[in-house]
Amino acid sequence: MGSLSDKNYLNEFPGIWSWLTTLDHKRIGLMYLGAVMFFFLVGGIMALLMRLELFAPGGQIFSGDGYNQVLTYHGAIMVFMVIIPGIPAVLGNFFLPIQIGAKDVAFPKLNLASWYVFMSGALLAVTTFFTTKIDTGWTFYTPYSIRTQTAVVTMVLAVFIMGMSSILTGLNFIVTVHKLRAPGMTMFRIPLFVWAIYSTAIIQVLATPILGITVLLLAAEKILGIGVFDPKLGGDPVLFQHFFWFYSHPAVYIMILPAMGIISELIATFSRKTIFGYTAIAFSSIGIAAVSFFVWGHHMFVSGQSEFAGVVFSFITMLVGVPTAIKMFNWLATLYRGSISFEAPMLYALGFLFLFAIGGVTGIMLASIGLDVAFHDTYFVVAHFHYVMVGGTLMALMGGIYYWLPKMFGKMYNELWAQISFVFIFIGFNVTFFPQFILGEKGMPRRYFDYVIPYESLNRVSTVGSWLIAIGFVISLIVIIQSLRKGAKAPANPWGGKTLEWTVTSPPPHHNFDVEPVITAGPYEYR
């Protein structure tokens, strides 16, 4: 009986080699966690440098090219190496199998292979930083990306490889959810986190190949001179934008759906209450995933796309707002008559609701085609997607890490300092990004290394905010390291959660369950 002895997945097999060859989904999740945290640190430093440059007009610490490079690496690292793998590959890997009562994912070897594929893609991307730093922005728009002398080919190959890893992970999760659910675990008894990861996996499998083909075409054009995108060779530069956003819009939901999954778990657990509208939340995940494939043109309202196309894309984009609104109100309704406590994970969940509300309504503004013409490619867009990606996804990831830290490592963290860290991040975030809405409304374009005087004071405020965020994350990093070093031993269920991971020891045994669980009720049975 594993749970009666001291054996768990962390100590059952010792040595670095046992980690590098592990087939355990939990260990692979932690290996992703290490990588994602490292890349977040790098991308975060880039962000701080950018804000420092923008503290005043004119050149501060960079040349124009230097700034463009940092802006490209910040975007590419945060998108491809932090936000996309962040929740599914770390927390999804660790908890999806446990939450459905499985011993592991369906294809453990493929799961390990995905990690290696991801790491080789990421390392390849990093090599470009030491050769000719790429300066195209994370979007690689043609024909700029074709003409620039920087390492575009290496970078897009790296993106191709990381995309491959994303496809394999998605495939693994889909099969796991369909084939490995414990007896009695029907599709409508799986936790909402699993629904979210499952919907995300569908997008990963269907959309990522488009990105792969697009970047291969770009590489082929650069190496062989085939005219696909460059008008000089008879190509069409706007075609690239269609291809790119056909992936990258759904990718926005690869980034946000898992976050919504975490929020459902946190709100139910810390309110000790059944989630309101389980079915609606589950179906709205699937609904968002489906509709997300037909809205890419909202990135191209001013690209020269026909009025008809623009209007259709605007309309469909509005429709995505509905399931999103449903989720927000369902979470709010879950709080009603709950028994709410405010540990750090819940603070992050409430912070998410606050910030995502603002991110959501500004999304509707941008979806309205007449208004988007004014706001497109200004700081309004920058502010909007940071409210969604950082205020949304990153807040949820932080909440999820604190929520599951006791389960993953069997150690508690310092609650007070975790809450202080939240306060810094939350306030710093608003100080940094709210002024950017105003800057954008006043017309400041994005990706500007220099700006005219009227934009100075708001940029200053924004830069000061970035320092508060940095303090918050440094505190969090220390809290996590300290908890690993000398945190108190965590009980099996510190928060009173009802999903399956809280029924096993902290940390869980190697095979998750000593006895295969049999499920007789839904995931949030607080009654």
Binding site: G58, G59, K232, E307, L335, S339, V361, I369, G370, V373
Partner: protein, 305 residues
């Protein structure tokens, strides 16, 4: 910046105001609702009982339907404005715009050309017919709330009718490389009489240095070289002429004389000032400027002490 310089800008602002109000209400419901519940239903004891509420069809209908109605209003409203933006009256004044890294060129029907600044008469519909020589740029007039991408290999169009006199910024809003943020132009809305006067304007009677000052703006030098000593994409021109021990990438030191400046303009990769390498961001102007223009620029630089 004055926002009501065009009808369109006014319409965009009204839609934005409407959205600010509805969004404010929606956020207030969510955020204050959340805070209210959080305070009211704070955990009292560890054994609190919570009710089992799985769903409520009526409420769920309400909070899907009401947002949907608002979204549809916003969608239709945005569409109407967008449709207005893309109307080009038959009597529009047509101006050709050519974008290149990192400059805006304007050509009028009379043959008049200008760079990084252009004039239009007030109360006259204008249609810009735009294309790019290299990568994609985007023509954005913030105070008029309009923009349109400028794509190589095809024409795109942007229309507006300014109803107030004034000077307005034009920004490039599609990332286009080194001096993207310096790719600016000035739009000057003037009276019909002033506009016609400007169309007739020639270079006669200007001194060499005055001509140089004109080219400094028109040929795009202004994007990267300041006149006040501040560092931009390129080094400042202030006090440049006659500078001794002017250090290049690679350590060479030279005197900034006429020949040095000539080389730097026409073959910018030959001599690169220390700190701006290893490759110069500046395009080579060989074949783009004639002898008179180069000479005028040199005379202008001489005056910038």
């Amino acid at each position: 910046m004055n926002s009501d310089v065009t009808q369109i800008a006014q319409q965009v602002n009204s839609l934005y105001d409407f959205l600010l109000i509805t969004s404010g209400i929606a956020c207030a419901i969510l955020i204050f609702g959340m805070i209210y519940f959080a305070v009211k239903y704070k955990r009292k004891t560890n054994n609190d009982k919570t009710p089992y509420i799985s769903h409520n069809s009526f409420l769920e209908f309400l909070w899907s339907f009401i947002p949907l109605v608002i979204f549809m209003i916003v969608f239709a409203w945005g569409w109407i404005i967008y449709h207005e933006m893309r109307k080009f009256p038959k009597d529009s004044l047509e101006v050709h715009v050519t974008a290149k890294q990192w400059q805006w060129d304007f050509t009028y029907k009379s043959g008049k050309t200008s760079a990084n600044e252009f004039y239009v008469p007030v109360n006259k519909p204008v249609k810009l017919i735009m294309t790019s020589m290299d990568v994609i740029h985007s023509f954005y007039i913030p105070s008029m709330k309009i923009k349109q991408d400028v794509v190589p290999g095809r024409y795109s169009a942007l229309g507006f009718k300014a109803e107030k006199l004034g000077e307005f910024y034009v920004f490039c809003t599609e990332f286009c490389g080194t001096a993207h943020s310096a790719m600016m132009a000035k739009l000057k809305v003037v009276s019909q009489a002033d506009y016609e006067k400007w169309l007739q304007e020639t270079d006669e009677g200007l001194s060499m240095a005055q001509l140089g000052a004109k080219y400094y703006n028109e040929k795009g030098c202004v994007a990267c070289h300041s006149l006040d000593g501040s560092k931009r994409v390129g080094p400042s021109w202030k006090g440049l002429f006659g500078m001794k021990d002017h250090e290049m990438e690679g350590g060479e030191k030279l005197i900034a004389d006429e020949n040095y400046i000539r080389t730097s303009i026409l073959n910018s990769q030959d001599k690169i000032v220390k700190g701006y390498g290893p490759r110069s961001a500046m395009p080579a102007y060989q074949g783009q400027l004639n002898e008179k223009e180069v000479a005028a620029l040199i005379e202008y630089i001489k005056e910038l002490k």
